[in-house]
């Protein structure tokens, strides 16, 4: 096991983590960032293809390079022993990071809701399809339906369109009036307004329906068609791909494990972005889903505060302005109760362990269901079915325990074994200008 000493340790190199790293380092702290992906940038600034970093990421990289931030890529947080001792795995090797302050910027993941056919090949998440396409999956000429809820539908539809996908429909489950009400709030954030207007203009050719959601996907080897519920009856569309996402849920596993207070599924933080556990800060979508500007604003506050410096009032104000928008977002895209009744008795809810909806209905809690049916016991550890059963049955998450991701036993077994620290620099990566 390798030992690394840090002052401010940041988990996640998405927009929030990058902003936190830059702010903490510029405030004079010794900073390490841990990121599971091969490239920094998080959900939004994903690299195109295998190597080329996103241009925005590159600008952040240069800033981090100047301040000597160490970024550990392809390194996954798998365990912790309190907030000052974080265990990570990189290429099968275990490292222990000792730190005095911790910033959690682990982002969010998509909410999947089960409906008949949602496990067919060709049915993916909305962000999931975006990631697939960016990593080279051919989409050109494919007939795609994008369904679910939230601003992500439009953002992804636009990028699929640009890559030559044939978009048949964008189906938003929220009613049009809710979205219009949200649009009226956009003046608060001119950048968002410009983004939104641009998106709408580019997608003007694409049919869009509100109060419309998927009922069933059919196909044999692969999805062939989707049946949707619209305000004026149901519609069936033949398609080659169905991208479905019902919003984003904060990735709070590590926060919950460390004992940070969690409210409505998001990590609670104070004005300095500090959680209920002293020395543990949260930034970005882990504290609530609000888009990239909010993530960056929160990251800057969290990084500065974690470095023990005074946060400029201007930064706090910028964050608060962005924050105001979040509650409007949540309200506009609130999920309708009909979505709880999409699954048929035999529809699979837990894909890892093949647990059907009917096996779960009637269980007292997530833990009772897990012990009775293995729901959530598989290799994704309930990351997919957990948020779904929370929405479907109101269950709270079962306790989080290490490993946060499946890891080779040899790596876990290395915890506590000492190794001369110079012995293995393999996983230590700094940015280079051309990465």
């Amino acid at each position: 096991m390798r030992e690394v000493a840090s002052e401010v340790l940041i988990l996640g190199a998405g927009p929030a983590g990058l902003a936190a790293a830059a702010a903490a380092a510029e405030a004079g702290a010794r900073v390490d960032v841990i990121e599971g992906n091969r490239s920094p940038g998080g959900q939004i600034w994903r690299p195109e293809g295998a190597t080329e970093a996103h241009p925005t990421t590159r600008r952040w990289q240069q800033r981090l390079l100047r301040t000597g931030v160490r970024v550990h890529l392809e390194t996954t947080v798998v365990a912790a022993d309190g907030p000052r001792c974080i265990y990570t795995v990189c290429g099968g090797e275990m490292s222990r990071f000792r730190t005095s302050r911790l910033v959690l910027a682990t982002g969010s993941r998509e909410l999947f809701l089960p409906f008949p056919g949602w496990t067919l090949p060709g049915v993916t998440g909305v962000g999931g399809l975006q990631a697939l396409v960016k990593s080279g999956w051919p989409i050109e000429g494919k007939r795609v339906v994008v369904a679910g809820s939230g601003p992500l539908l439009l953002a992804v539809a636009d990028s699929l369109r640009r890559r030559g996908a044939k978009l048949l429909l964008i189906a938003e489950q929220a009613p049009r009036r809710a979205v219009v009400r949200l649009a009226r709030q956009l003046w608060r954030s001119p950048r968002k307004a410009i983004q939104a207007l641009g998106l709408m203009a580019r997608l003007v050719q694409v049919p869009m329906r509100y109060a419309c959601w998927p009922l069933r996907a059919t196909g044999d080897e692969c999805v062939r068609s989707v049946l949707l519920q619209g305000s004026d009856g149901s519609i069936e569309l033949e398609c080659d791909a169905l991208a479905c996402g019902f919003g984003l849920v904060p990735e709070i596993a590590i926060a919950a494990y460390l004992g940070c207070d969690v409210e409505c599924g998001a990590m609670s933080v104070d004005a300095q972005q500090q959680s209920s556990v002293p020395g543990v800060y949260g930034a970005g979508e882990i504290t609530g889903v609000g888009g990239v500007e909010l993530a960056v604003a929160e990251g800057a506050v969290a990084g500065t505060a974690a470095a023990g410096a005074r946060v400029p009032v201007r930064w706090l104000a910028r964050r608060d302005r962005q924050q105001a928008f979040v509650s409007h977002l949540d309200r506009a895209f609130a999920l309708r109760p009909e979505l709880r009744r999409l699954a048929a008795p035999e529809t699979i809810v837990c894909r890892c362990e093949d647990v059907a909806f009917e096996a779960l209905a009637g269980a007292e809690s997530a833990r009772a269901a897990k012990l009775a049916t293995r729901c959530g016991m598989g290799s994704c550890q309930g990351r997919v079915c957990g948020p779904a059963t929370r929405f479907l049955f109101g269950w709270h998450h079962d306790r989080v325990r290490p490993p946060f991701f499946p890891v080779p036993m040899a790596a876990l077994a290395a915890i506590g074994t000492v190794q001369p620290s110079s012995a293995n620099p393999a996983c230590y990566q700094t940015f280079t200008m051309d990465c």
Partner: protein, 376 residues
């Protein structure tokens, strides 16, 4: 609601077995469970139905209970995941082969099917084990099952026999005439069986001098599905020393093949830990031990880990019997690392005691009077 004859407090595997035996005798049984069936230590256990001979008394209870499970095995539904895989006690060194031969002779004299394996025999039975182990003792009759499902099945059978279970009901105090619930209400009954696991002693009307146990924490880890790595429950003979020791912390090689292709890896023992937090360093020590025995485990991915608290008595025997000074109140707890196995025997003993008849085995070694401090 009509009054029950017997209240069983705790719906773990021990409470479940007591409820079933009592209901079968025609008692009106009511089980009060704070969470849901099997949610306590039972949910965390390995489910090895085991025979041990640490003492005569331990042997009698484990052997009898194993026979009861074997008789039930064909009736148990698929979700209980019964596997008649047997167990091999592994001798790492030649010196442990004496133990193997002694135990083989002893078990055979009781009609138990066992087999002494030499180094080669062990390697053939379990090719994934590291080479050059001295040998082993194969216990053909040991089985493996999935404990929370077994507890649910026992409760279901008790309900079929007329019992009721109330889940989400927490008991504050027990007496010989009923129980006081956390909401302050009382539930009267002809007699009460306190089977609340590690909490059982806290519910008694008053502390009984000499009667105590210490929670003994255990870690487990389970791997992803993969090609089958082992065919028996496997444990090093050193496990017995680990179970036996009063040392603060110990780990031992003890793994179980699941039918899913997963491997369940144990085990650790830590005294006086009341929290169920997974401790990375202990977990790692336990995994290192497992890899020493089965090197191929190193590459298998661990998907989950957890811990459980075993209710451990000083003499490593459970507490089964009437609570002195409280007529009508019985205790059924303290089974440490053997409660999944010995639950069935415990249920029988309690039913016999309530009926006032003798049992298939002598209950004296498990009764509470053995622990009591002599009155000055």
């Amino acid at each position: 609601m009509s009054l029950p004859d017997v209240l069983v407090v705790g719906g773990g595997i021990v409470g479940a077995a007591c409820a079933l035996e009592l209901a079968r005798e025609g008692h009106r049984v009511e089980v009060l469970e704070r969470g849901f069936t099997g949610c306590g230590t039972t949910a965390t256990a390995m489910g090895h139905i085991i025979v041990l001979h640490d003492s005569q008394a331990q042997f009698r209870l484990t052997r009898w209970s194993q026979e009861l499970w074997s008789a039930l095995a064909d009736e148990l539904p698929g979700e209980v995941e019964v596997d008649r895989c047997g167990c091999i006690w592994i001798a790492s060194e030649e010196s442990q082969m004496d133990w193997v031969r002694d135990k083989a002779a002893l078990y055979r004299s009781h009609g138990i099917e066992v087999e002494v394996l030499d180094s080669l025999g062990l390697a053939q039975a379990e090719p994934s084990l590291r080479p050059n182990l001295a040998g082993g003792l194969r216990m053909r009759e040991d089985l493996v099952l999935y404990p929370p499902a077994a507890a649910r099945w026992l409760v279901q059978r008790a309900v079929d026999a007329g019992a009721t279970i109330r889940t989400g009901v927490s008991v504050r105090r027990v007496s010989g005439a009923g129980a006081t619930l956390d909401d302050g209400s009382t539930r009267a009954a002809g007699c009460v069986v306190d089977a609340a696991g590690t909490k059982a002693l806290e519910l008694l009307p008053e502390p009984i001098p000499g009667l105590q146990f210490r929670p003994r924490k255990g870690h487990l880890a389970i791997t992803d599905r993969g090609p089958r790595r082992c065919w028996h429950q496997l444990a090093e003979i050193g496990y017995l020393a680990s179970a036996h020791t009063h040392a603060q912390t110990s780990v031992a090689f003890n793994v179980q093949p699941r039918r899913t292709g997963q491997v369940l890896v144990g085990s650790s023992r830590q005294y006086d830990r009341h929290d169920t937090r997974v401790e990375p360093e202990i977990l790692a020590r336990m995994l290192r031990r497992a890899i020493e025995f089965i090197p191929a485990l190193a590459e298998m991915r661990v998907t989950r880990t957890w811990t459980g608290l075993r209710p451990a008595t000083d003499d490593r025997l459970p507490l089964i019997g009437p609570v002195p000074g409280h007529s009508g109140l019985y205790l059924a707890t303290g089974h440490e690392g053997l409660g999944i196995t010995t639950s069935l025997g415990t249920g029988r003993l309690i039913a016999d005691m309530v009926a006032g008849r003798s049992s298939a085995i002598d209950p004296a070694p498990y009764r509470l009077d053995r622990c009591l401090e002599p009155q000055a």
